[in-house]
Amino acid sequence: MASAERPPVILRSLDLCSRAIRLARKIRSDVVSLLDSYVERQGLDKNISLDGVDSMPTAAVEHWSELTEAERLGNNLKAYRIFQTLLAEVLEDQRTHLTPTDTNFHESIQSVMLQVSALASQLEELLMLLEHSVPAREEVEGTADSTSRSMFEKKLRGLKVLQELAQWSVRSVKDLHHVTKHSHSSSTVHVSHQ
């Protein structure tokens, strides 16, 4: 039997997973500090109730451990695609209405946007590598009527976007660890069958 090398696909997916984990962690730490500066600049209380703010991908999930690999990665990808659009909206609100002169703040939002876009690409690549179907791109709800929102609603919405993104970044790390764990075990099974 050949020495216990892992199939290239498994190695490639493990590498992609670990890079995506590092990126998700980076997003998390950036979003957590962005949240602090966001509430400060908008004059909001961090614990303000955001129950009324909806139409965004919530990280909360039931029966997490029972999700399939395709569901796990697919849900992540769909979420980050939507976050790309939502973050663009938040940035537009800040530039146009809420903090028009605070370019440093805008750059920190933009930095997170770029990372979210990179993570979405990595997730897409991972799905294809693991031979799962890649979810189709969906029209993001809520963006169409963003102009009709009040300033306060725009502030709350931005806060909700960042809160959910922070939560999603943790979920992604755990999802990707879960995928890694199963890649390890499936590659061990694969090697032992050779």
Binding site: R25, A60, E62, Q167, W168, V170, H177
Partner: protein, 320 residues
Amino acid sequence: QRHSQQDTRVQYERIGADVTMKCGAMDWDAAVTWTVNGSDIDESHLNGSYLVLRNVHLGHSGQYSCYEGSSWHLKYQTSLKVGTPPKEPVLMCRSNNYPKRFYCSWHLPSPTYIPNTFNISVIHGTREMVCEKEAVPKNRCHIRYLQLFSTVKYKVTLTVTNALGRNSTTITFDEFAIVKPDPPENVVAKPVPYSPRRLEVRWNNPSSWPDPESFPLKFFLRYRPLILDQWQHVELSDGTSHTITDAYAGKEYIIQVAAKDNDIGTWSDWSVAVHATPWTEEPKYLTTEAQAPETTTSSTSSFVPPPTTKICDQEKVVGS
């Protein structure tokens, strides 16, 4: 001979209260005898046939009986329990086996000396969650996570009630905030042969942590020679072993490890402390000198040379 015919009732009174007991339906001026736990009570405590206890304290708790003067018929009996209403309870919730469950535990800041009942409610958003009580410890119950990665806060309310009053406390927390693993287990520290400044430390994930692959832990190691107070620290983001490379040669070290989920929650308590001393070279004897008695030293025990032996290569032994 005293006749007992009454069911015992229980009467709760606050510490410091004044208590008056009537002898059942007996008139105020009826001749009666009061006993507490079978012993007669001094007449000074009587007001007519009423028993009067002023500024009661715990010592007043007991079985009080009143007998009709001549027939010794039992006319009244009560079990007096002196205590206090409950103070605001102390409530804490924690998950040491995330993402399976979390538990809430509570205690009263001071005893009430009388029975208390506890009721806990756990609300997550609009959903009330079941808190599965345990036989032991009695003041703890577990909640199964139905949802993970939620931004919705948990609200836990504990209500404590006894015969003298009621109190409650409420805490609100985020899902991640209460994640705190148990300390690492089976910590072992060993000298590294031929390396006088190294110690190899190994440990295990806490066995209560259900899925270390999907929820990897990072670790914090602290170590110091017993002769110093200042700890040295090192954070390790993966793996369950570490080699200390800057130990003082020949000095006994104390080592502890703590754990934390890589992304959420807080650090565990420190593990049990372990001790180890780095490897030290066997002291060499000059063969031409009088043969010093052959002392067997193991590399980890402290070596005390017999007075006649000449220490050779002093630098090699200390701090090479």
